[in-house]
Symmetry: C2
Subunit: 131 residues, 2 copies
DNA sequence: TTGCGTGCAAAGGTTTTGCATGGCA
DNA sequence: TGCCATGCAAAACCTTTGCACGCAA
């Protein structure tokens, strides 16, 4: 799985600690820099690429700028099996483990012939706190 | 609502005629060029921006390349009220008018306190034909 | 020591912007 | 005629890549 470097640890730690909120590659560079940790931007992109591949981090296009947003989703990989709700206001990601919603995928398959990918799908809207 | 120019009409007409399939800004320039219509790329971007604002066209980030994809969704605004399924293979967008799925929004509000935005949400997966 | 990871700078793309010109109303 | 739209080129951005050097194992 590659070497363990200071940079890799710091990037992962930052994303993990921001659990529930996304940030851009630039954000990561500045946040680490504020804490006195200097990391090259290409290193950040390269680590993010790996983390996304491993399913630890998820990449979003949240519209705002043009830049991609990255968000920690967990190291266990369970996120392929449930739906995600993302609040357009605060940016938080809610993981929904819900039997009723599991049936939705079945319904869409049976009635609309379409196989949902929970890995790629995000339901956007506004969360309880932001209303 | 601005002037009616030849370019604006051509861009809208092309997107409308490709209903169900998305294209990039570059695609639009080449497709029009093939038909002997020359339109500057910045004009295409500027018109797309307006069309997206008006809700006539939808902007997707389909991951693959880096460039955004644009797709005609209709001039009536009815698309704010139903779910959309987008096939990751062929790129087609399915508009789903379905009572069962309408209930899903209600369920998510009642049980998870979250208001779904059909305007922003897209369910990704694989359609019947592509399986 | 081996070879992956890092950082810098440059390259590669996409999208936006400034400005003079053209065309709709 | 008054103004918005267009086109071109340049600028602004984001992301990727090449290469020499550093560091983990």
């Amino acid at each position: 799985m590659g070497y363990n470097t200071k940079q890799k640890e710091q990037i992962t730690a930052l994303l993990r600690s921001a659990n529930g909120v996304h940030m851009t590659a630039d954000d990561i560079v500045s946040r680490l820099s504020e804490n006195g940790i200097s990391v090259g931007k290409s290193t950040v992109y390269r680590q993010l690429e790996k983390l996304v591949e491993q399913g630890v981090v998820r990449r979003f296009f949240v519209e705002e700028g043009v830049s991609a947003c990255y968000q920690f989703i967990g190291e266990d990989g369970g996120c392929r099996e449930h739906y995600h709700l993302k609040c357009s206001v605060c940016g938080k990601l809610l993981h929904v483990e819900c039997e009723y919603l599991d049936e939705v995928s079945t319904h869409i398959l049976r009635h609309h012939g379409f196989v949902i990918s929970n890995e790629k799908t995000v339901l956007y809207g506004i969360c309880e706190n932001c209303r």
